[in-house]
Symmetry: C2
Subunit: 375 residues, 2 copies
């Protein structure tokens, strides 16, 4: 088995990584980033913290392609979505969620949990989102104030046409917010140019950092919505994060290890260059898809919607369940992939090409999969 | 300067600790615990995770002295308090908060943020909580359904009479919940014997682990309140944590590094023995208080309320501000302590004796403080 990931010999790492992580998150985190956490024995109201905070602030702006602040909230990505739902969505207007998989279904539940008159536009999980359908809903229902969409739907591998959705939203004067958990750092993403209302990213996906932070950014429309809404909640009250950021701090004791790791991860991205970093993941995804098609496996979503960062293929014709394939890939080949989620749990396998993945990892994955499927 | 903390030579650590951390949190985390985070490159839906989860579950029961589950929520302690406020407090009844410092004031704000008819019983910050006063409020106002109190008020160093408050609450049929952020692992704490309704602890205080987790435990009254209340919120919905715990998992991607560190911290506590671990902190606090009194400094709260884990002394007679003393302690002696919070910011200094603190650290702190005050 090829025990090397992105040029780093895993057998030498203290993180005891003896396998290739091809999960759609949490992704493999290089040792240099893991060990950055060892420096986190500091006080979060000190000058040392302010320096860390300001370094992360600059680097997150680079990755989000924005001039605004990106708040690192100590929670999972779900917490970041709750921050948006609780701070931005008006209780007098409806919120439309485009539901095309497991995580957009979750997004719709989060919106619903805050009593924000949720409405859904359901797209079959194996189809592309129809811009015409979205446009029609907005035209027909002036009561809709905001639209939520998963940029990359990690359960199906579908990438939403985010730029186009943002243009439609803007034309209709609605707020667009996106769960970009698995997308930022792996797909083209332009917070400012695309005039996004609000976005949430995770650290443990394409940014190749440990889990524990939700990265939240508000655009013009998002900030305006926050101001016209009343203060809601406490821990996810974005105004507190905005106020504390002025002092280079977080309102509550932050997950310090993850902030140290995040700085190191963002430095790694800067070093490769964001465009190169994204292009490598895209190249790996193409190579993976081509190889899977050679094995007779088709992507769950149409090719034109297939994301750079997670490839989901139907495995019906293999005669195995997803759990069986995942188990054999791990046990016999040391390669960690994931089964499906929700109703397609056993019908698809999910393979990530996130973060530091390289062509060698994809090749090893394809070789192993060929063996597992044919034997 | 004595560069050794609890027998570990700090000059050798990779965490670049070149000072003695005497903060009232985040406390110094031994290297063996920091480095446990390096193993956290795993999938949170794997058997390896289930083993970690179940180990932490058992050890948390030991530290909370409970047979129940303690949920490790990926957030700061404030998130844990929000979980209690949003899940347990009825909107038809009032919630009383005993306010005797900065953090109990925060607790009152959290209760208020969820629209739970907050009422306050204000105790001067430099006085002990009066059980009679609490009893009187409960007798006079049958509309109060729940009472919140900070077990250790980290801003003043006061320890609340938690066991007695719980007995009063029980007698009056009210739910008692406590912010025990700075107390669990450092003060006697008995979730079950004291019949507490709900409690939240932090990892970065007496448990000597990195920040990033809120530890939440519900007693009988707490669970009953949750069941009679509607589901509220999403990320802090404790029913989701309860449901996922049955599978040995968390509902959302957890802060994996902190869970690995927490297991190591709890092992360290088990090894010393919880009672010995607490007794050492109490011994250090007594030694610190005696030394401070020899320097002519008095505790901010009456001695009978002074906690084991944070000592707060008035510095008016030194002629310096708290910031000046804190700065000189760090710059000239490498000892990190904290100034006050809120209205007493410059009038007190706060010194932690949490986690792995030992007599040598206290001695070094007193020696340095003597020098700083007299020069």
């Amino acid at each position: 088995m090829d025990n090397v990931q992105n040029g780093i010999d895993l057998s030498e790492t203290s993180s005891k990584q003896s396998s290739i992580n091809m999960l759609p998150g949490p992704t493999w985190v290089p040792d240099s980033i893991m060990s950055a956490m060892l420096n986190s024995n500091i006080y979060h109201r000190s000058e040392e913290f302010h320096i860390l905070f300001n370094a992360i602030r600059e680097k997150l702006r680079y990755v989000f392609r924005t001039t605004r602040d990106v708040y690192a909230i100590s929670s999972s990505g779900t917490g970041g979505l709750e921050a948006i739902a609780s701070n931005l969505l008006s209780s007098e207007q409806k919120t439309l969620t485009i539901v095309n998989g497991y995580f957009s279904q979750e997004l719709s539940s989060i919106v619903g949990a805050f009593g924000k008159n949720p409405v859904r536009l359901d797209t079959p999980w194996d189809e592309s989102i129809s811009l015409d359908a979205v446009e029609k809903v907005l035209r027909d229902d002036p009561g809709i104030g905001a639209i939520g969409v998963a940029y990359v739907e990690t359960s199906t591998g579908a990438r939403a046409p985010l730029k186009e959705l943002s243009a439609i939203s803007e034309r209709h004067g609605r707020l667009l917010f996106t769960d970009a958990e698995s997308a930022v750092g792996g797909e083209e993403f332009r917070m400012d140019d695309w005039k996004l209302g609000a976005a949430v990213a995770g650290t443990q996906k394409c940014i190749c950092s440990p889990p524990g932070l939700a990265l939240v950014c508000l655009g013009d429309a998002g900030r305006k919505s926050m101001e016209t809404n009343g203060r809601k909640g406490f821990y996810f009250d974005l105004r507190r994060y905005e106020e504390s950021a002025k002092k280079g701090e977080t309102p509550f004791t932050p997950a310090l290890p993850q902030l140290f790791a995040l700085r190191a991860s963002l430095e790694l991205i800067q070093k490769e260059g964001l465009e190169n970093y994204i292009a490598r993941q895209a190249r790996c995804a193409r190579m993976l898809r081509d190889g899977l098609m050679d094995l007779g496996l088709n992507t769950h979503v149409p090719l034109e919607s297939a994301s750079n960062v997670v490839t989901v293929v139907n495995i019906g014709r293999t005669g195995s369940t997803a759990s069986q394939i995942v188990e054999r890939m791990k046990r016999d080949h040391g390669i960690v992939i994931a089964s499906g989620l929700g109703p397609i749990k056993e019908q698809v396998i999910r393979i990530g090409t996130m973060g530091t993945v390289d062509e060698g990892n994809v090749e090893a994955t394809l070789d192993a999969l060929k063996y597992v499927i044919r034997n």
